[in-house]
């Protein structure tokens, strides 16, 4: 998704009009003549910033014509107490973000790429077997550019290699870039849900259970997408349940208060009254998420979760973008957005470099990209990791702390606005 967006973004830039761009895709070309009736399970929350990028490359038009769901409010609450926080844009006028199926994003970008065939070429089903890296200021007969060897024997040479090959990036590994990473002992279970009754469905719901957050993201008036991050064992169990039991598990995860203890409940209501004494008009009413009646066909997949951050995003003639550079927990719906942020930043810097007659692989502007993006990505990643750890326990002191914190934050509109701005880039 991020790699093809990068290729499209570069191809459309006027300063890069004469450059030759090649996108190497391991998979097949995704075509979608008609939008299928069934929803696909992998979805992303596209922030307004990412939507701007996608619209700049001409893909957003295709997406809105096909299928996407804007949502206006987000409710996040604790499984161990009554604390909740809601985010919404003032007066519910503008969208907060959009839920789009990943397939639709990819297909839209590909449609746009098809129109750029003059300077962007795409090779599908291509697998790289070897990279040969250049020397910084080369001796007479060494390779001055990056050489890429494909499985079919072809060799390509490029002035700049952009690695968008996911969390297990071969580019990153071959460069030997040290990566800070750990596996969360969690897997995410994703599914498409049929709601019991049609509703306006423009709210994104997320509840933090001690085993992990469960989120319901709107797809339409009757369908929502499930992202349930939980321990590996539980995830496997969930996959093996029959449809009815699975649906019951989901509903109870959202509705039950089995993790509440008396202590926490009393403390929680005490906090709430104290805070409403200080700020009587703040806070928002608790809403209840819609109940689930069934799940979509060919649904229910699980994948492991982890955190990863490359200590360097760039080397001479190489840059990493998207999950290859940073991998996050889905609880904040930011993974794709960070990647799109990389695309926008790198395109702008390469465009400027080309207008200054620079060699596109020169390290100077690549280092600028790295600095700029690390400044954006690291705080976000730290926040997400912190949230994950904070909510992974039901130990009373931590629960009290986060309950109070969440309630207090809920009452501070300026703080909430800051958080939303941070997440909308």
């Amino acid at each position: 998704m991020v790699g093809s967006a990068m290729a499209c973004s570069l191809g459309m830039d006027p300063n890069l009009a004469d450059k030759k761009i090649l996108l190497l895709e391991a998979g097949n070309k995704k075509v979608m003549d008609n939008v299928p009736d069934t929803y696909s399970t992998r979805v992303s929350s596209i922030s307004p910033g990412s939507a701007t990028l996608l619209s700049g490359i001409g893909a957003w038009e295709h997406i809105t014509k096909m299928r996407c769901k804007p949502y206006k409010r987000m409710q996040v609450w604790d499984g161990c107490s009554d604390a909740l926080i809601t985010f919404d844009k003032e007066d519910l006028e503008n969208e907060m973000a959009y839920i789009v199926e990943n397939d639709i994003v990819v297909v839209s970008i590909i449609r746009q790429l098809d129109t750029l065939s003059d300077n962007v070429q795409v090779k599908y089903r291509s697998k790289v077997v070897k990279y040969t890296w250049p020397m910084p200021h080369h001796a007479a007969d060494s390779v001055p550019w990056v050489r890429v060897t494909l499985a079919n024997g072809e060799t390509l040479q490029t002035k700049l290699l952009i690695g968008a090959d996911g969390p297990n990036s071969m580019v990153r590994q071959e460069l030997g870039i040290p990566t800070v990473k750990w596996n969360y002992d969690q897997s995410a279970v994703v599914a498409v849900l049929h709601l019991s009754e049609p509703t306006e469905n423009n709210v994104a719901w997320q509840r933090f259970l001690p085993t992990g957050p469960i989120a319901m993201l709107p797809l339409s008036d009757t369908h929502s997408s499930l992202v349930w991050s939980t321990s590996h064992r539980l995830a496997e169990e969930l996959l093996e349940l029959d449809e009815e039991s699975f649906v019951d598990a989901i509903n109870s995860a959202f509705w039950s208060s089995e993790n509440h203890s008396e202590l926490i409940e009393t403390a929680g209501s005490l906090f709430r009254s104290a805070l409403s004494a200080i700020m009587p008009s703040a806070g928002s009413p608790r809403q209840l998420p819609p109940s689930v009646a069934g799940i979509g066909p060919k649904s229910r997949v699980m994948f492991p979760l982890g955190m990863g951050h490359a200590s360097e995003y760039v080397r001479h003639r190489v840059a990493l973008i998207g999950d290859a550079a940073h991998r996050v927990h889905p609880l904040a719906g930011q993974g794709a957005n960070l990647g799109f942020g990389d695309v926008a930043c790198l395109t702008q810097l390469l465009s400027q470099a080309a207008f200054n007659g620079k060699d596109l692989g020169a390290i100077q502007h690549l280092l600028e990209y790295e600095t700029e993006r690390q400044r954006q990505n690291l705080p976000m990643m730290a926040a997400i990791d912190l949230m994950k750890r904070l909510y992974s326990t039901n130990v009373a002191p931590v629960v009290l702390l986060r309950t109070f914190g969440l309630q207090a934050t809920n009452m501070l509109p300026t703080l909430k606005e800051q958080i939303m701005t941070f997440a909308s880039k």
Binding site: D18, H137, P144, F355, N356, G357, K358, D359, A362
Partner: protein, 329 residues
């Protein structure tokens, strides 16, 4: 008599050029009528006599723009040109200012017709190109660039570096020669849309000839871009003492303060050679960030854009670009 003069002209060149010297001697001696080179030399002689001491006292009395000691100083550094963090790091960084300076001023005269290649169709001469540090970016912007430098080793380095890039191979070429050699003969006249002499005039022996030759090879209305160092106490303190001796930003002995020239003097010199100076901009280097930026004061480094009078003069009298864009520092 003419052969003597030709000999002195060739004096500054590398010893290896001995064979070519003799061939040139033979050529000049053949009866050809009044060739341009002889006119040029006669003119400089006359000017020098009439100007008395004046500013030419600051330059050596040789007949060429070449200073052999300068050539010898740059030879051993030839392999270091493309090390972005080496001896020439400050020159690499200067591209952030001088490429936009050349590009924007040329664009204000010649509308960009080709997206992605704003300087397409323009012929540019890079005098004193060294390893090609400035020729390559200009070539990448679409210009047809000829880089000349008397130091053969530098030209070889430049040719090797640009040979790796198919984008540049057809557009950027190099020749080891002096500006006077290039401007000889009929094909020497009015060939270029722009001449760039960046960090060069402070290394030359004879600026008068240089200005004359620049005017000769430029098309009417063509642009001349010069970046150089001012001759002030401040420039002595910073460019010589600090840059060369203390911080070693520049190899010791690279610059000779006597050869620095103030923008006013340079302007006078150019205007007496048929140029109109369009803009002069101060430049400043920060050793902390390793980056250049535009400055209000021309006390140390400055960039100058002049235009040769002629048919193109009407277009080029349009407002020169304001250079307020800051570089990445």
């Amino acid at each position: 008599m003419y052969s003597n003069k030709v000999n002195r002209l060739m004096l500054g060149l590398n010893n290896l050029k001995a064979t070519s010297v003799s061939s040139v001697v033979r050529r000049a001696a053949a009866p050809r009528g009044l060739s341009w080179t002889t006119v040029c030399r006669e003119r400089t002689q006359r000017l020098r006599r009439s100007a008395g001491l004046g500013m030419s006292g600051a330059h050596s009395a040789s007949q060429s723009t070449l200073d052999s000691s300068e050539v010898r100083r740059f030879q051993p550094l030839a392999s270091k040109w493309w090390d972005e963090e080496g001896e020439f790091a400050a020159l690499h960084a200067m591209n952030d200012l001088r490429v936009p300076f050349v590009r924007d001023n040329l664009l204000s005269v010649h509308r960009a017709r080709h997206p992605g290649k704003p300087l397409a169709g323009l012929r540019v001469l890079d005098v004193g190109c060294g390893g090609g540090l400035l020729s390559e970016p200009l070539g990448r912007l679409g210009a047809n660039v000829l880089g000349i430098d008397p130091v053969e080793e530098s030209i070889s380095v430049a040719q090797l570096h640009s040979s790796h890039d198919p984008d540049l191979r057809d557009r950027v070429s190099y020749r080891a020669c002096t500006l006077e050699e290039l401007s000889e003969g009929e094909q020497g006249a009015a060939q270029f849309d722009a001449v760039v002499a960046s960090e060069v005039v402070e290394h030359l022996a004879d600026l008068e000839t240089f200005a004359f030759c620049c005017s000769h090879v430029l098309k009417p209305g063509g642009s001349l871009f010069i970046t150089t160092i001012n001759k002030t106490n401040l420039s002595y303190a910073l460019a010589i003492v600090v840059a060369e001796q203390l911080l070693r930003i520049v190899p010791t002995g690279t610059h000779n303060w006597e050869k620095f020239i103030s923008p006013e003097e340079l302007e006078r010199l150019l205007e007496s050679n048929g140029f109109t100076v369009q803009s002069v901009q101060g430049m400043m280097y920060s050793p902390l960030s390793g980056a250049w930026s535009w400055a209000d004061s021309t006390a140390i480094n400055y960039a100058l854009h002049a235009v040769k009078e002629g048919h193109g003069a009407e277009d080029s009298s349009s407002h020169p670009e304001e250079h307020t864009e800051t570089t990445h520092s």
